[in-house]
């Protein structure tokens, strides 16, 4: 070995030792990793309600959803009272199942499209429609007819995907803690309108506007069925909507919430538009031949301050159409 080669080898060895040492020491971490990383602290869902519109409810009787919903909004001061020009509106529909609109398991496309048009006419800059369904999401929006109807009316459909969810904790909540919520569409909206059909629901008694927020949850949400009334209460605490539309034009009386047969439906000719979802559900309960008392989640949501169950004590308008 000559000196030149020796020096060369020393340099290469020295550089390698330095590099290995620098990497090892630079990346050294004396602490074990945390069990969980709680990322919910920064995630807040705003209050979408409008203070001066509090406690307004209109119960409209009619069979034509488009016309009835227009009249009902008219009775409450028009969509302009809820949506200001330039605002972005999110419609949370019920698209839970991949079944055709005739079976009434999901929001009716005519109704959703009409509300989209009302929002656009009121000057909304963007209308988005979303839900995290139970069945395959793409199939749900396609087969329910909601996807095509609202796109034609000028709204966008947001099909949930993992990146749109954020972990969220309901303030004072017991169940919805560090839980994935379909947050992205909420964060991009100034107003939120809930649209739900009136349906029988074996576990909770009924699925209406409050239960409809379940479709914003992600993850292993079915475990909440163990305490369904409390989770609906917490959903009512989580979302303070601008207004809700409860569609009882037909009501699913049996075999809910999936239905599957026309014989599960009954024409009940009623549509409720309300800024108070608790009042809307209390009014809807009667369509299913139930008392609000039969549905513990109504009292619980009222206790949480989400609304008033005694809808007759509110600013109630009743209209008859057609």
């Amino acid at each position: 070995m000559d000196r030149r080669e020796f020096l060369g080898r020393c340099t290469r060895a020295g550089l390698s030792v330095t590099a290995a040492g620098a990497l090892g020491i630079g990346l050294y971490d004396g602490k074990p990793p945390e069990a969980f990383s709680d990322t919910t602290a920064s995630v807040k869902i705003p209050d979408f309600s409008i203070a001066e519109m509090k406690g307004r409810i209109c119960i409209a009787r009619g069979t034509d959803r488009s016309a009835t919903v227009r009249q009902a909004f008219e009775a409450l001061g028009g969509m302009k009272a809820f949506v200001k020009p330039g605002e972005r509106v999110l419609l949370k529909v019920n698209a839970a199942f991949a079944s055709p609109p005739a079976l009434g398991a999901t929001s009716h496309p005519d109704l959703v499209a009409s509300v989209v048009r009302l929002c656009i006419d009121a000057g909304a800059s963007r209308v988005t429609v979303t839900d995290n369904p139970i069945n395959d999401p793409a199939s749900c929006f396609a087969l329910t007819g909601i996807g095509a109807a609202v796109r034609q009316a000028g709204a966008d459909v947001v099909i949930p995907r993992a990146s749109l969810f954020q972990r969220f904790t309901v303030d004072k909540g017991r169940l919805i803690r560090d839980w994935p919520v379909l947050f992205d569409p909420l964060a991009r909206a100034d107003r939120i309108i809930g649209l739900a059909p009136v349906k029988d629901h074996h576990r909770s008694g009924a699925s209406m506007t409050l239960k409809n927020w379940y479709g914003l949850l992600g993850g292993r949400r079915n475990i909440f069925h163990q305490d369904i009334h409390t989770v609906i209460q917490e959903l009512a605490m989580m979302i303070r909507p601008t207004v809700v539309v409860l569609d009882g034009t037909t009501s699913m009386m049996t075999n809910g919430p999936t239905g599957g047969s026309l014989s599960d439906l009954k024409p009940t000719g009623t549509l409720v538009v309300s800024t108070d979802p608790v009042a809307a559900d209390a009014a809807g309960a009667t369509l299913l031949d139930k008392r609000p008392d039969d549905l513990p989640f109504i009292a619980k949501a009222q206790d949480a301050g989400a609304g008033i169950a005694d809808y007759r004590s509110l600013d109630l308008k009743e209209i008859q159409f057609g």
């Binding site: 199939s139 074996h202 576990r203 999936t258 047969s261 014989s263 513990p296």
Partner: protein, 645 residues
């Protein structure tokens, strides 16, 4: 334009067409999704699919007639499919070119020399066709040999054969006669003494190695899910396929073997290439040398894709018509002509008689051997749930080519390639797994059967699936039945309300129904009434955890419930209980004993309603081993699997 430029354009065209078909096999409403695009066309052009199903079933199903076109063209032109059309071949050629660019000409000439191992693919082909032919052979054996007409016919046939044979020359004529006599006597003995239907069965396994189904499933199932969502979004949620690893490893092995020998798969393994080799051995046009001018420079061997040695005696059956030799020959000796090569040709596939017989016999015997496990009969695996419209298992295995189109198109991603659970024959056949995917097998969906190129899953109409209209009498298609596991179910086993399964059951009336039960709650002691104020009770006994019993699901009964129905708790403090407004508590019940009850709805399955769609299993909150699970029990595709009257 140079001929190899034309060839490259053709290869790129068909490769892109193939990729386009993979992308377009998406269910949806966009123009680029399934809109009658002929996404199965390349499978249909593959004559091995047609031949395999023809041998196994006796008929050539619908679009598989396209294979005839390929056969005719191959008979006239040689293995054009391999060099010009096959997308898998194009991939191999591209990878082989990339990987071997830097290697010396001398090395490549050696690598591209004909290898004895190239005969293996013929043995593979014969084995696979043998496995598919069992049923056909069985049918031939079932000829009633005792009928006078048949005997007369056989005698006449034998005499004719002998006459022909004797004319062929004395020596070979004798061997012919012996052979024919052997077969005739052997089959008579078998036909008389053995039950052919039990001994012989057909199993279509060509798809394991057939390059077109192989490439379809590899790209659709192992590659697309990895890149989906980047450029375009094919599926809203990322797709999973349990058991996919072996499939991917197989594909990448085939691809990387090009680093050793270009087109390794095509030369040594591909049964479709072997079929084309047999068909094309007498092709009208063939690649070869003209009479004079060859200097044996080796340029033609340097770039030869088929390993067919154009520089000397060319193996015509190995030539994939890449035309590289025509392009690289500086002396314009190589051509694609009607005349045979001046340097001589070997056109017969390199498989000896004994190899042929060994491969054929093992193919024929392998299937009954696999069937001895009983998987298509007594010991059928109930966890293998086939898609709606799937044929009975035996017929299913005669048609399924494992192309994965059903798994690709399934909108909910519940169909996956089976491992060994469906038996050795069932590898990579479609099976449903309800734990995966977005939501069970959608009741309103018939996509898989309508895409299946071989009708292993029949193209059913929605009416047939739902059992409505013309199908009212036969009822809906059931792919299995759900069973409640009472040891894991929240209400049954743990006294916790749930019934997510009932809620999601899509059938009307629901196949899952509930019965109400008020079950005592474990609170560690006995509660008694201390005092009463309207609906508000003050109680003695163990301290109740605050809030836990105010959920609306808890009730009390007093003195064993003999006096009044259970009353719902609206508010429960540590030693107070408020009951629902309308609940009536008799004054006499003061001092009474209180039982704290939880109201449970216990799920039951109505076997006459359940269609096995698996939505319940998918939604069950017990996420690991579900508390309600579907098995293939009571499926309608096999009458023998009927459970309920």
């Amino acid at each position: 334009m140079r001929i190899i430029t034309t060839r490259r354009i053709s290869q790129i065209f068909f490769f892109l067409l193939f990729l386009w078909f993979c992308v377009a096999s998406t269910l949806g409403e966009q123009w680029w999704q399934l809109r009658g695009w002929p996404v199965n066309w390349l499978i249909q052009l593959d004559p091995l699919v047609g031949l395999g199903t023809l041998l196994a079933t006796g008929t050539l199903y619908a679009g598989l007639l396209w294979g005839l076109l390929t056969v005719v063209l191959t008979l006239l032109l040689g293995r054009f499919f391999c060099g010009w059309l096959c997308p898998f071949g194009a991939l191999h050629q591209a990878v082989g070119w990339l990987a071997n660019r830097g290697r010396k000409a001398k090395v490549m000439i050696a690598v591209n020399r004909y290898h004895r191992g190239q005969g293996v693919k013929y043995a593979i082909l014969v084995f696979l066709l043998g496995a598919a032919a069992g049923d056909l052979i069985s049918r031939l054996l079932r000829i009633p040999f005792d009928a006078p007409v048949t005997v007369a016919g056989i005698v006449i046939l034998l005499l004719m054969l002998c006459a022909i044979a004797t004319r062929l020359g004395k020596r070979s004529g004798k061997r012919w006669m012996t052979g024919v006599a052997f077969i005739a006597i052997g089959s008579m003995v078998l036909g008389l003494f053995a039950d052919g239907s039990r001994l012989l069965a057909a199993s279509l396994q060509t798809g394991l190695l057939d390059p077109i189904p192989l490439f379809y499933r590899s790209v659709n199932l192992t590659l697309l899910p990895l890149v989906d969502g980047q450029l375009i979004s094919l599926a809203p949620s990322s797709r999973i396929y349990p058991g996919i690893f072996a499939m991917g490893a197989f594909f990448w092995t085939a691809v990387f073997l090009n680093l050793i020998i270009p087109r390794f798969y095509c030369r040594f393994v591909c049964p479709l290439g072997a079929l084309f080799g047999v068909l094309g051995k007498n092709a009208l046009y063939r690649v070869g040398q003209k009479a004079e001018g060859c200097t044996v420079c080796g340029d033609c061997d340097h770039h030869c894709e088929g390993g067919c040695e154009p520089s000397s005696v060319i193996h015509t059956d190995e030539c994939v018509l890449c035309m590289n030799c025509l392009d690289s020959c500086r002396h314009e000796v190589m051509g694609y002509r009607l005349q045979p090569s001046a340097a001589g040709e070997i056109s017969a596939p390199d498989i000896s008689k004994r190899e042929f017989v060994a491969a054929l016999t093992s193919g024929i015997v392998a299937v009954p051997l696999a069937r001895l496990a009983g998987g298509t009969g007594e010991t059928w695996n109930p966890t293998v749930i086939r898609p709606p419209g799937a044929l009975p298992e035996v017929e299913f295995l005669q048609r399924c080519i494992k192309c994965g189109q059903c798994m690709r198109v399934c909108p909910t991603n519940v169909i996956h390639p089976a491992g060994l659970q469906a038996g050795i024959e069932g590898i990579w056949t479609p099976a449903l797994n309800f734990r995966m995917g977005t939501s069970g097998c959608q009741r309103g969906c018939i996509a898989c059967g309508n895409l299946c190129p071989t009708a292993a899953i029949r193209p059913i109409a929605l009416d047939e699936r739902l059992g409505i209209g013309d199908f009212e009498l036969q009822g809906p298609i059931r792919i299995g039945m759900a069973f409640v596991d009472r040891g894991r179910c929240l209400p049954w086993a743990m006294g916790r309300p749930c019934i997510v399964c009932q809620e999601n059951c899509p059938v009307s009336p629901k196949a899952i129904f509930t019965r109400e039960e008020f079950r005592p709650v474990r609170i560690g002691g006995q509660l008694h009434i201390r005092s009463m104020d309207g609906n508000r009770l003050t109680i003695d006994g163990p301290v109740l955890p605050s809030g836990q019993f105010s959920t609306g699901d808890y009730y009390i009964s007093i003195n064993g419930g003999s006096d009044m129905p259970p009353a719902r708790i609206t508010e429960a403090g540590t030693n107070t209980i408020t009951l629902e407004g309308s609940a009536f508590v008799e004054p006499a019940a003061t001092e009474g004993r209180i039982d704290l009850l939880v109201r449970l709805q216990l799920p039951f399955v109505d076997p006459t309603r359940c269609i096995g769609c698996g939505v319940c299993e998918h939604e069950c909150p017990v996420k690991t081993r579900r508390a309600i699970r579907v098995t293939a029990e009571n499926e309608t595709r096999e009458r023998r699997h009927q459970l309920v009257l």
